[in-house]
């Protein structure tokens, strides 16, 4: 029996050895695939096991974390959620992340290896680093001025520091509180469903994800093209564009709302927003000139990120002359995001040099140790410096004695341009009111802020909608707040 006992023992030990081989297969070979299986809850559990890193604006945190003691332990909270929602986005345990929460997720969730002083050690010990702190370029006072200015009306504001490209404010209205999407329960699902179904589209980030016809605000781009092309050498010299202007090759008359536009100078045309002059000059400058300038401002750029992706503003690459004429005054297929129009204003304010807009300044650990820094960088040279100087003067005249007087600020040099964009079939939609502007404090060496405001005021009577009436006061409040903030520094 000894022989059979030995064999039986060997068989039992072979069985146990097989177990170990199989365990090694599962725990080593298949382990990565098992970890990555979407049904495996360990990823989310680890991700939410610690408080998420904070997002700051002007040194103040605008986010927080709530300990739920549930399986996904820490839920995101937001202070002034609706106001900062177009900046932060949401970080939901059910619906994922968006905007800065999405773009900087690795840092905020603690997954970024750079957060650790000794990255390899964390990989070995499998410990998760505390979430990092993401410092945005947003100035709370500017953001607040913009949010209050819109006061729940549909629209958006984007404000930049022209010399650096820092985004000072990014507001979309109506907004929502991203905190209601944080959790996993039925309330979260209900909130998500309601927000997505709402007619007002509160989750749409109108400042960077929505494009509007820019209307007359686009005339700044056309003027830059015309000046750069040398078509106009003296801004005060009369042009030979008739009023009403008949679109080349058609019988369509392009009327002017303002008086005295027939053959008016470029300066007068910007000051009083003459359609005929800019349409005619744009058509004469030709598609390559206007398109090239528009693209130098950022139109047709699908890759722009701040770090969240910005919807591309469009200026058609192929057009007939009459279409070019319409496009030159911001109609036809031309569309722009509020951020894009703020970039137009910023390029003029910064002497023709357009800085790349950026929303995240730097990432640090909670203790403040720097992890990553985002530097200002050149985006494009939008126009000649001389052209920029001339446009600055023209825009100042708009505010001092033109269509944009509501934007004037005491103690500052303000340049602006109104826009009233018609849209919809046969232009029957409620027009959008635009105002783009920049401001330079009297004691400052350069403009401190550039802003674009759009108000798609569906409630207002059509005739009263104008850049000056609806949008300019908001721009003024935003710029005043920005100048005050920079002076306080």
């Amino acid at each position: 029996m000894t022989r059979t006992i030995r064999r039986a023992a060997a068989l039992c030990l072979v069985l146990l050895a097989t177990l170990l081989v199989n365990a090694a297969r599962v725990q080593i070979v298949e382990s990565p695939a098992l970890d990555d299986n979407p049904a495996n809850r360990r990823g989310p559990i680890a991700r939410w096991a610690q408080p998420r890193g904070e997002i700051t604006a002007g040194g103040h945190t605008v986010t927080g974390s709530r300990d739920t003691r549930e399986q996904l332990r820490y839920e995101r909270t937001y202070t002034d959620g609706p106001m900062y929602a177009p900046v932060t986005g949401y970080a939901s345990q059910t619906y994922g992340t968006s905007l800065v929460e999405h773009a900087e997720d690795a840092a905020l969730s603690g997954a970024d290896p750079l957060l650790s002083a000794f990255p390899l050690w964390n990989d070995l010990s499998r410990s998760r680093r505390p979430g990092g702190r993401v410092h945005t370029t947003i100035e709370p006072a500017v953001q607040k001025a913009a949010f209050r200015g819109l006061a729940g009306r549909r629209g958006a504001v984007a404000a930049l520091q022209p010399s650096t490209g820092r985004v000072l404010a990014l507001v979309s209205s109506p907004s929502y509180d991203p905190g209601v999407l944080s959790g996993t329960g039925p309330a979260t699902v209900r909130a998500w469903t309601e927000l997505n179904a709402a007619d007002a589209e509160p989750m749409l980030n109108r400042a960077i994800r929505q494009t509007y016809p820019p209307g007359s605000a686009f005339k700044i781009v056309t003027a830059a093209a015309v000046l750069d092309a040398g078509l106009v050498r003296d801004v005060d010299a009369p042009t030979d564009t008739p009023d009403p202007y008949i679109l080349p090759g058609t019988r369509t008359r392009l009327p002017d709302a303002a008086e005295g536009c027939g053959g008016a100078s470029l300066a007068y045309a910007i000051q009083w927003s003459c359609n005929s002059v800019l349409a005619g000059l744009g058509a004469r400058a030709g598609l390559p000139a206007v398109l090239g300038t528009a693209e130098n401002f950022g139109f047709n750029d699908r890759s722009l990120r701040i770090p969240s992706p910005v919807a591309a503003s469009t200026f058609d690459r192929r057009m007939s002359v009459d279409q070019l004429a319409l496009s030159s005054i911001g109609q036809f297929n031309t569309t722009a995001t509020p951020l894009q129009m703020a970039m137009v204003s910023a390029a003029v304010a910064n002497g023709g040099t357009l800085k790349r807009p950026y929303l995240v300044d730097r990432v640090t650990t909670t203790a403040g140790r720097p992890v990553r820094r985002y530097h200002q960088s050149l985006y494009r040279r939008a126009m000649n410096p001389v052209t920029a100087q001339r446009l600055q003067r023209l825009m100042v005249r708009v505010v001092e004695d033109g269509t944009g007087r509501n934007a004037a600020i005491r103690g500052a040099r303000v340049g602006g341009k109104t826009g009233t964009a018609q849209h919809g079939p046969d232009n029957t939609g409620t027009p959008y009111a635009w105002f783009i502007a920049w401001a330079q404090a009297d004691d400052a060496v350069q403009p401190g802020v550039a802003v674009a405001v759009v108000v798609e005021d569906a409630e207002a009577v059509r005739g009263r909608i104008s850049g000056n009436g609806s949008a300019a006061p908001i721009a003024r409040a935003v710029m005043a707040a920005a100048l005050k903030t920079s002076r306080g520094r």
């Binding site: 039992c12 097989t18 177990l19 049904a39 495996n40």
Partner: protein, 484 residues
Amino acid sequence: MTASAGPGTDPGTGTAAGPGAPVAAGRRRGVELLLLTGAVLIPVYGYASVGLARGGAVPPDVLGYGAGLGTLALLAHLAVRLRAPAADPLILPIAVLLNGLGLVLIYRLDLETAEDAAAPAQLVWSTLGVGLFIVVVALLPDHRLLARYAYVSVVTALALMVAPVLFPPVNGARIWIRVGDLSFQPGEFAKILLALFFAAYLAANRRTLAFRGRGLRRFRLPPARVLSPVVTVWLISVGVLVLERDLGSSLLFFGLFVLMLYVATGRTGWILAGLALAAAGAYAVGTVEPHVHGRVDDWLDPFASVRAGQGPGQLAQSLFSFGAGGLLGTGLGLGHSALIGFATKSDFILATAGEELGLTGLTGIVLLYALLVARGFRAGLGLRDDFGRLLAVGLASIVALQVFVITGGVTGLIPLTGMAMPFLAQGGSSTVANWIIVALLIRLSDAAREPLPGEPGGDPPAEERSPLLAGNLDESRADRRTPR
């Protein structure tokens, strides 16, 4: 080694006072005590580390827990020292270590299910188990006495297995007897009684089974008169289990029967016939029984339910656990094996070990079982009576097969069958039954390593061993020195 080799030539029963001689290797109670100290300290360390990982502090009752486990170990050790002084010094420490680790894992899982604490009950069952261990070691002077109760045990075993049919099923399996709050799984005890019966019956009839019978060329079938009782008992036990839907135990009894028959008769045909029967039976049951069919489907594709959008099933969750553990594990208290949900503390306790102790810890645990199994077989080799040899083989095989069926099931090697991991899993009947198995192994190994005087087989001279039989500890220590 040849089949005809007598016990005298087996290692461990040699006549010389060399390293393998029974007198030199026989006692070793000091080694056992040392190993027991480690077997108590390791779970205490684990208990403290769970507390540190979860609450940031060592649990306040860690000393109490250590003292409790230590007292149990010490009492068991004293019983062995007094009543089975030559017993294998590894068996008891392995049992204590596995039981202690099980308590730590169950306590750790209790933290996830605050309303349903299982560790206190498991501690009570462990105490009861050790108590029974002491009773068996103290009151059973010679394992051969058990052979007399072969038919009593088989009747009891069958009664125990049939009894749960009269009670309502729990989670689809009729393997429980519930009286008030107490539940009891009779199959756990039936397996010991069946091993006992098989050992006694096969020992008495093994030559007939091996060499007699009608021949059909080379294949010889044993006489039906001899074979039929065993086959009948086996068929009944397996039949009952299929009715009760406890396929783990069914597989265990089947494997136990085939292995013991092979060891007794030395005929490989039994293994082949057994495998063929097992394959046929598995196919039939797998096709007919939906409960089993589902298990097989789940085994073939554990992630089908995930793809179907129904979330991961138990096996998928178990595999996630093992995968998350990787080589080194997450650390005690830091894994998420509680996601498996139902049966984490019982059938799936190993997933917690796999996740929190990693492949390293799992390997350690499987090696502990392997060592226990090996010591069981070793006792079998050392014994001279056929009954004892077969009983040792049977008990060791029960442990090995059980570990294989459960571990293979939760790691996706074979279809999942609900069964309790010996000592590690939550379960009163299982813990108590396994302590009885260990008590019997202690008794068998004591007999194997301490040959009785007057037995044939070239044992050492009786006068050298007589002090040991008297149980005099001082004498035994002196005795250990004499051969050198």
